[in-house]
């Protein structure tokens, strides 16, 4: 008799511990959601009222199937759900302005629909929204509760902290303030937001009510006792949602002439070089046929689309929020389903955050991808950020099995531009040394000179870790 295989250990997801309604866990590589008995009535209402079907039909909620798995904690399990897979989990501090705004409007739309079916969102966490097939969707199907009478909306504070506060700061103060979400994992405190926003936002009714007066009310009544049985009618609740929606809709951000948003208009690439580089990248992609590609330093996604248009799911990272905004708006306009643009500073990639440093995963922990593309990138990391080549090679090996990488020599005008304002202490930055150092982590499978330029393109395969 063959020895019995050890039973696969189920493990709960680090971010899924707050809600008594249920939790997410991994079982033999499948992501499952246990619905606890405590949530039975609400879950049944979601499924039988027609709300679930309506949300799924409109592409607003991630679809799921009921699984026959017994649950990770069967003693309190009511059902086990298997949701459709999200290819890459992203976080709001990695989104562009319009991605964030679309996520906020989605949440309000879902809440309005839920009210029509006698239910309401009991939480409105921004982390419950993910981008799936090019569009934002709600991924937490346990966010609803039966609510026949109207308000107050229990998730109102969370909506203001998670959506309205960061969006208004980005629109009225500075786009980079989205990074405050890394420090304030449960959304931005409203008193802080109120302090940081310019005076003119007090003249905008939705921001006056939902940020400034809200902050004041929180301070004034922080330890107040209140009759929680008091309600507000449905019209008042719809009015509240309408006011929030008006406030979100009015927020705008127009990217100025930022560093890289005009890169393809303002570069030393000859048209022939650009075309040749595209054909080489395409050839390499066809050779390795990856399932998931991360394009590092993707700008507005010109090369990312060589992968995504082949049906390869591609995450297009860039440090510049303006480039990511333009990329996302293009995705929306063209209804692209295989491309996800995100903001990422590779010199300080997203790290593990939250309770036990385990609620939000680092960039590396969300990998590896099948392949990464690092086109016109390494001179920025090696020269602008002083990262030694061996450290770069090690970092890239952590991210994927395959790599398409462009080497930009010192004589290139873009590198000369970087060196113009600093001392050239980069004697190791040569093509020969690049190949030697990267060969310690990768096997060079192909290399080609890009026509009408001094640049080279490489296809490399990661060596197995010893």
């Amino acid at each position: 008799m063959a020895p019995e295989k050890p039973k696969t250990q189920d493990s709960p997801l680090g971010a899924s511990f707050r809600d008594p309604s249920g939790f997410l866990y991994l079982s033999a590589g499948r992501l499952l959601r246990q619905v606890n008995m405590a949530y039975q009535e609400n879950y049944d209402r979601l499924m039988t009222s027609g709300l679930y079907q309506e949300l799924v039909n409109q592409g607003l909620l991630i679809p799921h199937v009921e699984s026959d798995h017994t649950g990770m904690r069967p003693e309190i399990a009511y059902k086990v759900l298997e949701p459709e897979t999200i290819r890459f989990i992203s976080y709001p501090y990695e989104w562009s302005f319009s991605q964030f705004k679309d996520a906020a409007l989605l949440t309000l739309l879902i809440q309005k629909l839920a009210l029509e079916f006698g239910m309401s969102l009991k939480d409105s966490s921004v982390y419950n929204i993910q981008f799936h097939q090019g569009r934002p969707v709600l991924v937490d199907s346990l966010s609803f509760e039966i609510n026949p009478q109207g308000g107050p909306w229990v998730a109102y504070r969370q909506f203001c902290q998670h959506f309205l506060a960061p969006l208004s700061l980005m629109a009225y103060r500075d786009i980079r303030l989205i990074q405050l979400l890394k420090a304030h994992i449960d959304g931005l405190p409203l008193d802080l937001t109120s302090k940081l926003l310019p005076f003119k936002t007090r003249l905008k009714l939705p921001l006056l009510l939902h940020i400034h007066l809200h902050a004041l009310s929180q301070r004034r009544f922080s330890s107040a006792v209140v009759d929680t049985r008091r309600t507000m009618g449905k019209v008042a609740l719809l009015g509240l949602l309408d006011s929030l929606e008006t406030g979100v809709n009015a927020l705008r951000w127009k990217p100025g002439g930022t560093e890289w948003a005009n890169y393809y208009c303002d570069t030393n690439y000859a048209p022939e070089a650009l075309e040749h580089k595209k054909s080489l990248v395409s050839e390499y992609l066809d050779r390795i046929s990856p399932g998931i590609v991360w394009d590092l330093g993707a700008n507005v996604g010109v090369f990312s689309r060589l992968a995504s248009e082949r049906g390869i799911f591609t995450v297009a990272f860039d440090i510049d929020p303006a480039a990511v905004e333009r990329n996302y708006l293009s995705c929306k306009r063209r209804s692209e389903t295989h491309l996800l643009p995100l903001v990422q500073d590779l010199s300080n990639p997203s790290s593990n955050l939250g309770w036990r440093s385990n609620e939000r995963a680092s960039l590396i922990d969300r990998g590896p991808a099948d392949a990464i593309m690092a086109l016109a990138l390494i001179h920025h990391l090696a020269i602008s950020n002083n990262v030694p080549l061996d450290s770069l090679a090690g970092f890239f090996r952590d991210l994927a099995k395959w790599m398409i990488i462009e080497f930009v020599p010192k004589s290139d005008s873009q590198v000369q531009r970087l060196l113009a304002s600093r001392e050239d202490i980069f004697s190791a930055y040569t093509q020969e040394n690049f190949e030697r150092v990267f060969s310690t982590c990768f096997r060079i499978q192909r290399k080609s000179a890009i026509r009408s330029s001094e640049r080279w393109l490489y296809l490399m395969e990661a060596l197995p870790l010893e």
């Binding site: 107040a224 006792v225 009015g239 006011s243």
Partner: protein, 70 residues
């Protein structure tokens, strides 16, 4: 500005004092604010809907007039 905020705070206090009965967590301020705003946002919502309907009604009349003339 401080003065107007102080004034608003006092107004909130006067409005809400009558309803204070049971303990609620730090979300109290958000809960209370919604009750205070209920009439305002509800009326604005009704007015907005009425205005939209009025505009579409008038647009309907004018477009009918124009097509009659044509």
């Amino acid at each position: 500005m401080e003065l107007s905020f102080h004034f608003s705070s006092e107004v909130l206090r006067l409005i809400i004092n009558s309803s204070i009965l049971a303990y609620l967590d730090p979300g109290s301020g958000s809960f209370i604010l919604q009750l205070i705003l209920a009439s305002l946002v509800g009326s604005l919502f009704l007015f907005k809907n009425f205005w939209k309907k009025l505009l579409s009604f008038l647009r309907g009349i004018f477009s009918r007039d124009r097509s009659d003339k044509e």
